[in-house]
C-alpha cells in the first residue's frame, strides 16, 4: 500500500517525470486537430477525392504498362539531336554565365567591395533573381527570341548568372585575406592584388562550382524544351501529347544515361582540379 502512496507523493512532487504537463498535451492535441483541418481543407480545395485518386492511379498503371518495353520509335535523329542540343545549351550557357558571374561575384564579395551598401544591394539583387525559375526565363526568352535552343541557352545563362554570382561571392569572401594584403604591401594595385592574391586561391573552388552548375544545368536543359526552348524536352513533350508512351520511357532512359555520363565526366575533372 505504501508503494501506491509513494507514487502519488512523487507524482505531486515531480509532475514532469510522469508525462508532459496538461498545457503541453492540450497544445499537442490542438496541433493535431489543426493539422487534420488543414489537410481536409486542402483536399476539399484541390478536389482530392478517393474516387479521383483511384481513377488517376489506375490510369497511371495503364501508362506504366504501355511504357514497357521502351522503344526508340522512328525518329532516332530527332531524339539524338535533342539530346545534343540539351547538352550544348547547358555547356555554353554555364560557360557564358560563369564568365559574366566572375566580375559580379567580385562586386558582391565583402572583402573586395568594401562599401556595405553596394555589397548588400548587389547580393539582394542576386537573391531576388534566384527566385525566378529557369522555366520562367525560358518562357520569356521564347517570346523574345523565338522557339529553339537559343532561347534555352539564354534562359540557362540568365538564371545561372545569379546563382553563380552568389556562390562566387561567398567563395571569394572565404578566401585568406593575407595574400592580397601582401601583394598590396609589395606595392601592387588593387587589381593586381585580386589577380595574384585572390584569384589563385579561389579559382579551383570556382571551377568546381561551375562544373556542378554544368551538371545541374544538364538536368534542367532536358526539360526546358517543354516550353519550347529546344532540347530533348521538346521531344518528350511532343510524344506525351500524342501518347507514345514507349518512346517517352525510351527518351527518359536516354536522358538518365546522358546525365549520368556528364556527372561521371565532371566528377573526374573536378577531382583533377581540386587536387
Amino acid at each position: 500500500m505504501s508503494g501506491v502512496a509513494d507514487i502519488a507523493r512523487f507524482r505531486a512532487r515531480f509532475p514532469r517525470a510522469f508525462g508532459p504537463p496538461p498545457w503541453q498535451r492540450a497544445a499537442w492535441v490542438l496541433g493535431c486537430v489543426a493539422f487534420v483541418v488543414w489537410l481536409g481543407a486542402l483536399c476539399a480545395w484541390f478536389d482530392i477525392t478517393p474516387a479521383r485518386l483511384s481513377r488517376g492511379v489506375s490510369g497511371l498503371f495503364v501508362i506504366l504498362r504501355l511504357m514497357v518495353p521502351p522503344s526508340p520509335g522512328a525518329q532516332w535523329a530527332d531524339i539524338l539531336q535533342g539530346l545534343a542540343e540539351s547538352v550544348a545549351m547547358a555547356f555554353l550557357g554555364t560557360f557564358v554565365a560563369a564568365v559574366i558571374a566572375l566580375p559580379l561575384g567580385l562586386l558582391g564579395a565583402r572583402n573586395v567591395v568594401v562599401n556595405a551598401l553596394a555589397h548588400f544591394s548587389i547580393r539582394r539583387v542576386f537573391d531576388g533573381f534566384r527566385g525566378v525559375d529557369q522555366l520562367i526565363w525560358a518562357l520569356a526568352f521564347v517570346r523574345a527570341v523565338g522557339l529553339g535552343p537559343l532561347a534555352g541557352l539564354l534562359a540557362i545563362t540568365a538564371a545561372e548568372i545569379c546563382v553563380l554570382a552568389k556562390l562566387f561571392a561567398e567563395a571569394i569572401e572565404n578566401a585568406d585575406p593575407r595574400q592580397p594584403e601582401s601583394v598590396l604591401a609589395a606595392g601592387g594595385s588593387r587589381l593586381l592584388a585580386i589577380r595574384f592574391g585572390l584569384l589563385p586561391q579561389v579559382l579551383p573552388v570556382l571551377l568546381a562550382q561551375v562544373l556542378y552548375a554544368f551538371e545541374s544545368n544538364t538536368r534542367s536543359a532536358a526539360i526546358l524544351g517543354v516550353v519550347g526552348a529546344g532540347g530533348i524536352g521538346l521531344q518528350i513533350a511532343e510524344r506525351i501529347k500524342v501518347r507514345y508512351w514507349d518512346e517517352v520511357s525510351f527518351i527518359i532512359i536516354l536522358i538518365l544515361i546522358t546525365v549520368a555520363a556528364i556527372d561521371f565526366l565532371s566528377a573526374r575533372v573536378r577531382r583533377k582540379l581540386i587536387t
Binding site: 479521383r52 490510369g59 497511371l60 522555366l135 517570346r143 539564354l154 526539360i223 517543354v226
Partner: protein, 290 residues
C-alpha cells in the same frame, strides 16, 4: 655551382613548356567544345545579335510603368502601383495556392521518403536485397524531373493542382529519401543495439533508437525541400498542373508585359519570404538538437 643553376633552369624551362603545352591543349579542347555547342544550340553570331536586341526590347517592355507623382493613386490611374498590381487579390490567392501545393507535396513526399529511407540506409537495412531495391527505387524517383512527372500526371489526374502536387511529391520522395538515408547512416548505432538487445523488433528499433536522433536533421531537410518545392510549384502550372504558373503562362503567352513583371515580382517576394521564414525555422530545428 653554375652547373646546378643551369640544371635548375633547364628543369624549370621543361616544366614551363609542359605547362604551356598542357594549358593550350585544354584551352583548345574547351574552344572546340564551345564552338560545337554554339553550332548545335544555333547560337550563330547573327542570330545572337538579333536575339540580344529583341530580348533587350522585351525586357524593357517588362519594366513596370510607374510614375512617382501618382505612385500611390488608385487602380484607375495609369502609372500607380495599384494600376500595375490591379489583380493583386487574385495573384495573392494563386500564390497562396502554390505554397499550399508545395506544402502538401513536401509532406506527402517526406512521408514516403521516411518509409523508404530506413531500409535504404546501409547500416539499418534488414538485408542486402531490400537495401538495393530501396536505393534503386529512390534513385528512380529522384532522377525524373517534377515537370516531366507533371506532364504525365496531367493525363491521368486531369488538369489542376492535384497533378502538380503528386508530381512534386514523386520527385521529393527520391530527393529527400536519399538525404534521409545518408543522415540515418551517420546515426549512432549504440541505441539501436540497446533496443535490439532488449528484444525490440526492427520497426521498434527504428522508432525508438534512430528516429529521435535523426528527426531534427530530417526536419531541416524537409524545410529546405519545401523552399525548393515552392520554386518548383511556381512553374509546374506551365503544363497545366495548377498554381500561379498557369496564370503566368497565359500572361506571357498573351504578351501582357505589365502583368508579367507584376507576377514575377510577387513570385520573387513570396519565395524570398518563405526562404527567410524557413531558414529561421531550420536553425531552430537544428539548434534544439545541439
Amino acid at each position: 655551382m653554375n652547373g646546378g643553376v643551369a640544371a635548375l633552369e633547364t628543369a624549370w624551362r621543361a616544366r614551363r613548356r609542359v605547362r604551356i603545352v598542357g594549358g593550350s591543349v585544354v584551352v583548345a579542347i574547351l574552344l572546340v567544345c564551345l564552338l560545337l555547342s554554339a553550332w548545335v544550340s544555333e547560337a550563330y553570331p547573327a542570330a545572337l545579335l538579333a536575339g540580344a536586341s529583341r530580348a533587350g526590347e522585351y525586357f524593357v517592355k517588362l519594366w513596370p510603368d510607374l510614375r512617382l507623382p501618382v505612385l500611390f493613386a488608385g487602380t484607375k490611374v495609369q502609372g500607380s502601383l495599384a494600376y500595375w498590381m490591379y489583380r493583386l487579390d487574385i495573384w495573392l490567392w494563386l500564390l497562396f495556392e502554390t505554397s499550399q501545393m508545395a506544402a502538401l507535396a513536401t509532406l506527402l513526399g517526406a512521408l514516403l521518403a521516411l518509409l523508404l529511407c530506413f531500409p535504404a540506409a546501409a547500416n539499418l537495412a534488414p538485408n542486402r536485397v531490400v537495401y538495393i531495391i530501396c536505393r534503386r527505387a529512390l534513385e528512380l524517383f529522384r532522377c525524373v524531373p517534377d515537370i516531366v512527372y507533371a506532364l504525365i500526371l496531367v493525363w491521368t489526374f486531369g488538369v489542376g493542382p492535384l497533378a502538380g502536387i503528386l508530381a512534386i511529391a514523386l520527385h521529393t520522395v527520391g530527393a529527400l529519401g536519399k538525404l534521409f538515408a545518408e543522415v540515418a547512416e551517420n546515426a549512432d548505432m549504440r541505441p539501436w543495439e540497446g533496443v535490439r538487445a532488449a528484444g525490440g523488433n526492427w520497426a521498434q528499433a527504428v522508432r525508438y533508437a534512430i528516429l529521435p536522433q535523426v528527426a531534427p536533421n530530417f526536419l531541416s531537410y524537409i524545410l529546405l525541400r519545401f523552399e525548393i518545392n515552392v520554386r518548383g510549384a511556381t512553374v509546374i502550372g506551365f503544363v497545366g498542373a495548377g498554381g500561379i504558373g498557369q496564370e503566368l503562362y497565359s500572361v506571357i503567352s498573351f504578351n501582357n508585359y505589365q502583368e508579367i513583371s507584376a507576377i514575377v515580382v510577387l513570385v520573387i517576394l513570396c519565395v524570398s519570404a518563405i526562404d527567410l521564414t524557413s531558414e529561421k525555422l531550420r536553425t531552430l530545428a537544428i539548434g534544439r538538437s545541439a
